[in-house]
Symmetry: C2
Subunit: 335 residues, 2 copies
């Protein structure tokens, strides 16, 4: 029996081993992904992101517990730490988590630290999610730390993206990042028992108003007529306006309400056709990454190390620009 | 006269226009980069990164002012906000900055928001830095917000990377990220007049000890003998241990000392040979990005939209895996 067959039959040890193969991008992992692919497409992928200090991990734990206990769903957590070549934080985080969730075979937690490029990280995460999906996990929570491109990549991967904030994390103009709101399907204010929660909520609301203006000004008979109209974007109707959910994850407060909100988002995705659209986007991103990888591997086979090193030397000496070097290496290959 | 000739002769308006062309990656920008490349390689690239709320922008302003006034250097600032598709924060930040630095032709500030992929952002930043370098700016400060892959990319681009922290930004295990320390050449504790500065310094020191252990334990005659030895890594000797500099940027405190520390790092890079090594790495990263881009463009010309869309449809229907689709598109192209 191959690992992928064992995974399909529910073998937890085989799953662990296969995840490692997939993370390390070894040929066996590749083969298994091809075998498992027909069994994917059933899981709900939830991305959870936000700054350090917002209590994301506790929130993810509580959400996983909730889905286990109240909905009897099987839950996988992929904790991605894109800032870390060494995995200190993630490992410590895992230990803290295990206390609540260990022993439950319906929950699987996996940490990932970045080693290579970000492209590699997003692809590894997508591949791991596929394995969990094929293995019958109903909900796959992908948690990332930080604020940047990795979050956008998570958003592309997930059906539903939660952006977590917390009161009192900083009051300067950069503290709440506009860009991160664009990827949020649901905003969570965790640690909502802390002072300053009103300020955080107000700030988020005004950012939301900026990002999702619902008021339109129509010119009518020479007069400006202000009217409130629901906004329709080109892809989905009606548009989803990210709700703000308040939680105190350490006490389990607001978790059921958050899960309900997530449920409403799934219903919205399904009715609007956005679910299929997100699936399509996700699979296209994956296909593109694989095409890129294959192209580069092919190029590297066809251009010798010597040719490449020579080109680099000529660039360093400012004899040719990187552009000219790239072109000449490509042409050499085509001859 | 082309834009690049005008830029070389010190035309500020031409510089502004060329930067836009380069940022938008239009053919004129490409041509100019090739023309300007022989004039590059002289500037000192300083990366500045850290979490929101650390006061990075004020620090960068003060550092720029210091280099202008005390060393009469020409300074360019590239402010990159990888979290933002819309540029709210960056634009507001710019206005705040302009008060101190406007009117000085020896200083040029340019903001950049992410639009496309991260690869694109890193490449745009590198290209802009090349334009400033050719235009005779002695110091180019590249400022990024957030903690993630973009910071690692900045580190690859810069000769000297400052990681900025501030007291009281969060006390959980993720607050000071181990990975970000790995890219730091100099650690800055800004807002060092705030309460909790000792805790921040202690935390950074213990992280540094983890990342750069200088004590080795030798077994000697059956006894453990603890001895302090300088660590040598395979590339540089002696190794650079990131110093911790304390600043209060809003009051200009600690800026001269920080600049001195940066000067020592430049001397270290030069003596150890690391300057050339970093230049080489940087140019290789750029060459690789250009090769990838050219390969993908070539592929897209050779594979029809119809072929690509068919492949995506078959993936969505789970008839073939993304891997098989990538292979079949590549093979179709090679026939």
């Amino acid at each position: 029996m191959t690992y992928s067959q064992a995974v399909l039959s529910g073998d937890r040890l085989a799953l662990t081993r296969l995840l490692t193969q997939v993370e390390n991008n070894v040929p066996e992992g590749r083969e298994a992904l091809i075998e498992l692919f027909p069994y994917t497409g059933k899981a709900h992928l939830i991305g959870v992101t936000g700054s350090p200090g917002t209590g994301k991990s506790s929130l993810v734990n509580q959400l996983a517990l909730y889905y286990r206990k109240s909905h009897e769903k099987r839950v996988a957590i992929i904790a991605v730490d894109p800032s870390s070549p060494f995995t200190g934080g993630a490992v410590l985080g895992d230990r803290v988590r295990m206390r609540d969730l260990s022993g439950d075979t319906g929950v699987f937690i996996r940490s990932m630290a970045t080693r290579g490029s970000l492209g590699g990280l997003a692809q590894s995460t997508a591949n791991m999610a596929q394995v969990f999906d094929a293995a019958g996990y109903d909900v796959i929570i992908i948690e990332t730390v930080g604020a940047g491109q990795s979050e956008v990549d998570v958003a592309r991967l997930a059906h539903t993206t939660l952006v977590v904030e917390a009161p009192g994390l900083g009051d300067d103009i950069q503290a709440i990042k506009a860009g991160i709101l664009e990827i949020a399907d649901i905003l969570v204010i965790n640690k909502a028992d802390r002072a300053g929660v009103e300020n955080t909520e107000r700030a988020l609301k005004s950012m939301l108003d900026l990002a999702h203006p619902t008021e339109h000004v129509f010119q009518h008979h020479g007069q400006s007529m202000r009217t409130v109209a629901p906004v329709q974007d080109s892809f989905s109707a009606p548009m989803w306006i990210p709700p703000i959910q308040k939680t105190v994850a350490t006490e389990g407060k607001g978790i059921a309400e958050l899960a309900e909100s997530i449920g409403r988002h799934v219903a919205h995705l399904t009715h609007s056709g956005d679910w299929s659209l997100r699936e399509k986007n996700r699979l296209e991103v994956e296909l593109d990454a694989l095409i890129r990888e294959t192209l580069v591997n092919q190029f590297m086979e066809e251009v010798s190390q010597q040719q490449y090193d020579d080109a680099v030397q000529r660039i360093i000496q400012r004899k040719i620009s990187p552009w000219e070097a790239a072109k000449s290496l490509m042409n050499g290959r085509l001859k």
